[in-house]
Symmetry: C2
Subunit: 288 residues, 2 copies
C-alpha cells in the first residue's frame, strides 16, 4: 500500500504520542515533530506507511537515547496475554473448529498495537478477547484451511508483543514442526522481537528468526537475505497485523493476512468496515 | 493562545479536508499539504492557531484560483439559519430571560464552523438548535448582563456565516443602535464577511465594518487601523467563536467570549469539557 495524504496527519499524531511515551521532555517532542514535518514534506508517497513510521521511530530512539523505549510496555502486554492464555486454550480445545477459533483469537490479539494508539488499556484487550468470537469477521477460512492442509513449510510473520502470545495459540494448531516464526530485527514501537518470542515460550516450540529490519511491517528490501530466501521458498506465509498487510499486499506468494482493520484507508483498500477482523488470502497469492 | 504541538496534526487534517472541498485535483491537494508541512516545520509556535490557518487558506485560494471557495456553503448556511430564525425569535420573546436565551442561541450557532469539520450537516445544526437550552453551558451571565446594561458602545465580532443569523437574535436584544458588528476583511473558511452580514439583514439594524484581515480569528496586528481604534475604545466587546477566543484571550479589554469548545486544547485552556457552550468574561478584562 502506498502512503495516502490522509496518512500524514495520522503519522504526525502518532509521532507526538510516541514522543510523549518515550520522554517527558517537551523540547524533544517539538524537535522530533519538526523533523517529521520536514521528512513528510518531501516524502515519496509510493512508500508504504510503515517506511515512514520506521524512520520516525529510529529518530525517537536516537533523540531519547533509549534503544527500546517500549520494552516495559511490551513486557506488560506479554504478561497480560500469558495470563489470558490458559482459558483461551480451553476454549479452543472444546471448540468444534479449533483452527478457526485459534485464528480468530490470534486476530483479536492484533488489538495490542501501540502504533495506532499509545493509550490502549488492559481493559480494552480483555473486552476484545471476550468479544473475539462475536466481533465482525471477514474470513476466507476455506482457502486458509486448504493451504494449511497442504503446506510443508509455514512462515509466520508476527506483529506485536502481547499479540505474539495469541499467535502461539494458532501456531499450536498448525503442527509447529513445520512453522518458522519471524519477528522484527530490532525494536520499533511495540512490535515483537526475539525477546518477546522467548517471553511467550514460542522459541521452545518453533524455529524463531528475525527479519533483520526495524520497520513496523515487512519491507522486503530492508530485510536480510536469509529472511528473503525463506519468504520466497516457504509454502505458505501467514502475516499478522496491518503493518505487514500494508507492506506485503502487493507481493506475490501464498500469503494470508490476519489482522484487524484499524484505519479508514485500509478499510477502503480491503472494502470492509473499520474494526473488521480479517483473515484474507493475498489477491496476488499463488497456491501450492 | 499559542499553537500547541497537538494543533499541528489537526491543522494538517483541516488542510486536507479544505483542499478537497475547494478542488477535486489530487495533485493540488498534495502540493498544498506539502507546503503546509514545510511551514509548520518551521512555524513559530508563539503564534495562535488561526495565524497558521490564515496562511493555509490563503494558499488554498491561491492554488485553486478561487477567491471565496466556501461562498456556496456560506450561502447555504445563511439560508438555513434564516429559515430557523422566526421560530427562535418566538422562543426568545416568550422567554423569561430573553437576553440569556438569545446569547445561548447565538452560541449554539457557533456550531456552523467548517474549519473544525468540513462535513457538518444541516441535521447537525437543527439538532444543536433543538438542544440549545439543554446543552452543557458555562455562563458568566451576571457579569455579561451588567456589562450590557452599562455599555454605551458594543463591538460585536462575528465568526461564521450561518452563525451570523443567530447573532442577529442576540444583537436585537442589545439595543442595536449602540452595536457595531465586525466581520472578516476577506474570505477565509466559512467565516462571515460583509456579504453574510447583508444576507441576514444585519446591515439594516446595525453599523457593519470589516476588520481588514483574512485570519479566521482576530489577530489585532493584522487588522486595519479603524478596527483597532474601535477595539481599543468600545465599552464592551462580544467575541464569537473559538478563533476569536484563541486570538484575543490574552488581550486586555472588557471582552466577553461566546463560543462552543471544539478542541481538546481549548477545553484544557478554559478548564471545561469539549462541547461546552461558553459565555465567559476575559480573564484580563476590565470593567466600564
Amino acid at each position: 500500500m502506498k502512503t495516502s495524504l490522509d496518512c500524514i496527519p495520522c503519522l504526525l499524531r502518532q509521532t507526538l504520542e510516541a514522543a510523549r511515551l518515550v520522554s517527558t521532555d517537551t523540547t524533544m517532542h517539538e524537535q522530533v515533530l519538526r523533523s517529521v514535518l520536514f521528512w513528510t514534506g518531501e516524502m515519496d508517497l509510493s512508500q508504504s506507511p510503515p517506511a515512514m513510521a520506521q524512520r520516525i521511530h529510529r529518530r525517537l530512539r536516537e533523540v531519547s537515547g533509549v534503544d527500546d523505549p517500549y520494552r516495559e510496555a511490551k513486557n506488560r502486554w506479554n504478561h497480560l496475554a500469558m495470563e489470558l492464555l490458559p482459558a483461551l486454550k480451553d476454549q479452543i480445545e472444546s471448540s468444534n473448529d479449533p483452527l478457526l477459533m485459534a485464528a480468530r483469537l490470534a486476530i483479536t490479539g492484533n488489538i495490542i498495537d501501540m502504533g495506532i494508539s499509545a493509550n490502549l488499556t488492559e481493559s480494552n484487550v480483555r473486552q476484545a478477547v471476550e468479544q473475539a468470537m462475536i466481533a465482525p469477521f471477514f474470513g476466507e477460512e476455506d482457502l486458509f484451511r486448504e493451504a494449511v492442509a497442504r503446506a510443508k513449510s509455514i512462515l509466520y510473520l508476527a506483529d506485536n508483543a502481547g499479540e505474539i502470545a495469541f499467535d502461539r495459540l494458532l501456531i499450536e494448531q498448525l503442527s509447529p514442526e513445520r512453522v518458522t516464526l519471524v519477528v522484527r530485527g530490532a525494536p520499533v514501537i511495540n512490535d515483537a522481537t526475539l525477546i518477546d518470542a522467548r517471553a511467550v515460550g514460542l522459541d521452545k516450540i518453533v524455529e524463531v528468526i528475525d527479519n533483520g529490519s526495524d520497520a513496523p511491517g515487512t519491507i522486503l528490501d530492508d530485510c536480510h537475505q536469509e529472511f528473503r530466501h525463506r519468504f520466497a521458498t516457504s509454502d505458505m506465509i501467514i502475516a499478522k497485523g496491518q503493518g505487514n498487510f500494508e507492506t506485503l499486499s502487493n507481493e506475490p506468494g501464498n500469503l494470508f493476512f490476519l489482522f484487524k482493520v484499524k484505519c479508514p484507508l485500509t478499510a477502503v483498500h480491503v472494502n470492509r468496515p473499520l474494526g473488521m477482523q480479517m483473515l484474507m488470502k493475498s489477491k496476488l497469492g499463488g497456491t501450492l
